[in-house]
Amino acid sequence: MKRKIVICMGSSCFARGNEENLRVIEDFLKSNNLQADVLLSGRCCAGLCAEGPNLIIDETTYSHVSKEALIDILNREFLANK
């Protein structure tokens, strides 16, 4: 079943780190050749700017996602079993 990453591209999350986070996610998917298995999409602002930058993987919402935290999240979510 294809997994989903939704990254908030609202201006607040974008400026607070999601711009770079997007690149990190793309690099991650590319280097672990997961591009086919994961649907990466953006979304407009959902009003959670205070907890930004926001990110949703499948059902779980992650907030205050710094670049470093994102790397842990991606490793845990996608490479945990390997």
Partner: protein, 579 residues
């Protein structure tokens, strides 16, 4: 995917001053088109560059958000608290610190010193029958990297035991289950390297400075947090292990063990003193049993890069000693976890360069021969030779060489001053000459030329001894507005003057073109033009006058002819009738 390297530069803020390069003990900073960047393969994460950067462009990776994510995760997260917390949070009771950390979401707080005690226990057993040679403590990750990369011949001497933090992580996992996560909080950046390399033991490492920020963001004031009896260190409170973060502390903990008295204990802190201690030594020359406790930070971890350096060194040390509960002796005990870890030599990459390459590199910064090699250290390297090697390795750029850049600037300005077809003079606030060119001396006459011959550029001379209009200079200095005059009469000469700002209000320069000749020529031309006009006018008047006279004369003649030939009145009718 790996985390970024713990120390990095925010390019936008780097102001290209090379202070970090000067401070770096292993020159692990590359300068590329004016920006310094840390080279992970050479760096030992001592934090020197972070502390010294005047604009705080050297940043430390922020692992706090990772800790927050970890806490939100399913597994319990424990803190391995470095013993230097005592000197960092001055006078804060332990239970306040524990309660505050629990309020952040940590399941429990343990003392890294517990791991330190296990390390000392293991070392004591090892040192009992240690006859001769050199053993170097492996407690400090910066020292481990420094020796493995830059003094690899001493790598075998590093005691093959885990660091206190890694040992403590093992103890916590043994106590609270393998899925328990451990976060190290301490004064040390290199612990981030350690947690990156041993992610199975320590999930991440955070600095005290970052912990303060976290407390503030959660409105937790450790001094006023309410505590309960349950706020105690887990699994138990450490005793002599808390001495580790001060110079000689580790040695003291080992000496408490019986049977280690024969060992010579040496304590060295600071990489420079460590270099001094080891450089030129060969391990087999050490016949006595020597145990070298060494920490990269001067005075020990209490002075680490992640601390506030708020107190004088001795006070930091005293706080540790006051809080330490050191038993008389420590009976031998087998550490509860396996501690072995090997420290492989990993010599820093760097290809050897030929003399020719070095000479070429030195030429790029104008160093032709031995005398040019000033070894001034301005670039951050203590010798021009090392700088040349850095140039070859692509770690440095010619504009880092202060003497070269100054000479280059001087050469440029000298060439311009010499060739410009104008008199140039540069003066400071007090209208004293800083520099001038030969034409300026020529302009000012004989006395100036004599001065020039004695003192080229006439630096230091007063401007008004040479020219009369120095008040214009003062005007430019005060108004900071540049000024130009087309023609100024100066002892029989005509000058076109332009005074400009070099450093507004401080240093001004002036260019003076001697336009007397051109001016003279211009006047001459003007005069000749007027002359031509006058001449034209004169000839025209002449012609007109002659014409008039001629006209008058001929008119008289013609009139007389006409009258002689005038017909009687009838002739006209006759000619008309028969035309």
């Amino acid at each position: 995917m790996n985390q970024g390297y713990p120390v990095f530069t925010a390019d936008a803020e780097c102001q290209d001053c090379f202070k970090c390069v000067r401070r770096c003990p292993v020159k692990a900073i590359k300068v590329e088109d004016g920006h310094a960047s840390v080279m992970p393969e050479l760096c030992i994460a001592c934090g020197g560059c972070v502390e010294v950067c005047p604009v705080h462009a050297k940043k430390i990776r922020d692992d706090m958000t990772r800790a927050r994510q970890l806490i939100l995760g399913p597994d319990p997260v424990y803190v391995s608290l470095a013993p230097s917390w005592v000197s960092e949070f001055k006078g804060l009771p332990a239970k306040n610190m524990i309660a505050s950390l629990k309020k952040l979401g940590f399941a429990g707080v343990g003392e890294t010193a517990i791991g330190a005690q296990a390390v000392s226990d293991a070392l004591a057993l090892e040192l009992k029958d240690f006859k001769s040679g050199l053993k170097i403590s492996s407690a400090c990750p910066v020292v481990d990297d420094f020796i493995c990369k830059y003094m690899p011949e001493f790598a075998p001497c590093i005691t093959k035991v885990l660091s206190p933090a890694l040992t403590h992580a093992k103890i916590l996992k043994k106590e609270f289950g393998e899925n328990a996560k451990v976060v190290f909080i301490g004064p040390c950046i290199a612990k981030k390297n350690e947690s990156d390399r041993h992610g199975d033991l320590i999930s991440l490492a955070m600095l005290f400075s970052r912990l303060r920020q976290w407390f503030r963001s959660m409105q937790i004031d450790p001094w006023r947090v309410e505590t309960t009896d349950a706020d105690a260190f887990v699994p138990q409170t450490a005793r002599e292990g808390t001495l580790y973060p001060i110079e000689g502390g580790m040695n003291d903990t080992i000496k408490l063990h019986p049977g280690c008295g024969h060992v010579k204990y040496v304590a060295v802190t600071g990489l420079d003193s460590l270099r001094l201690t080891l450089e030129g030594l060969h391990p087999r020359d050490v016949r006595e049993p020597v145990f070298l406790e060494t920490l990269a930070c001067q005075g020990g971890c209490v002075h680490g890069p992640g601390t506030e350096h708020g107190a004088p060194g001795l006070m930091e040390r005293l706080r540790i000693l006051r809080m330490a509960d050191v038993p008389e002796t420590v009976s031998d005990r087998e550490p509860e976890v396996a501690l072995d870890l090997d420290y492989q030599e990993t010599p820093a990459p760097g290809k050897d360069v030929s003399l020719h390459e070095i000479r070429q590199a030195l030429l790029r910064v104008g160093k032709k021969d031995k005398e040019d090699e000033l070894n001034c250290g301005g670039c951050g390297y203590n010798t021009c030779l090392n700088f040349a090697k850095a140039l070859i390795a692509g770690k440095a750029e010619p504009n880092m060489c202060v003497s070269y850049m100054r000479k280059l600037a001087q050469k440029k300005s000298n060439a311009i001053l010499r060739c410009i077809p104008a008199a140039v003079v540069i003066v400071d606030q007090s209208l004293t000459l800083i520099e001038s060119n030969h034409r300026f001396a020529e302009l000012c006459g004989e006395s100036a030329l004599d001065v020039w011959n004695v003192l080229p550029g006439m630096a230091g001379a007063a401007l008004d001894t040479f020219i009369s209009f120095s008040d214009l200079f003062r005007e430019v200095l005060t108004t900071k507005e540049e000024l130009s005059r087309d023609t100024i009469h100066v002892n029989g000469r005509l000058l076109s003057l332009y005074i400009f700002n070099i450093d507004p209000g401080q240093v001004v320069g002036a260019m003076m073109f001697d336009v007397t000749r051109t001016e003279f020529r211009r006047e001459e031309i003007a005069a000749q033009a007027r002359e031509v006009i006058r001449k034209n006018l004169a000839t025209v008047q002449d012609i007109a006058c002659k014409l008039g006279e001629h006209m008058a004369d001929t008119e008289i003649l013609l009139r007389s002819i006409a009258e002689n030939y005038a017909d009687s009145p009838g002739d006209d009718e006759f000619r008309k009738k028969y035309k």
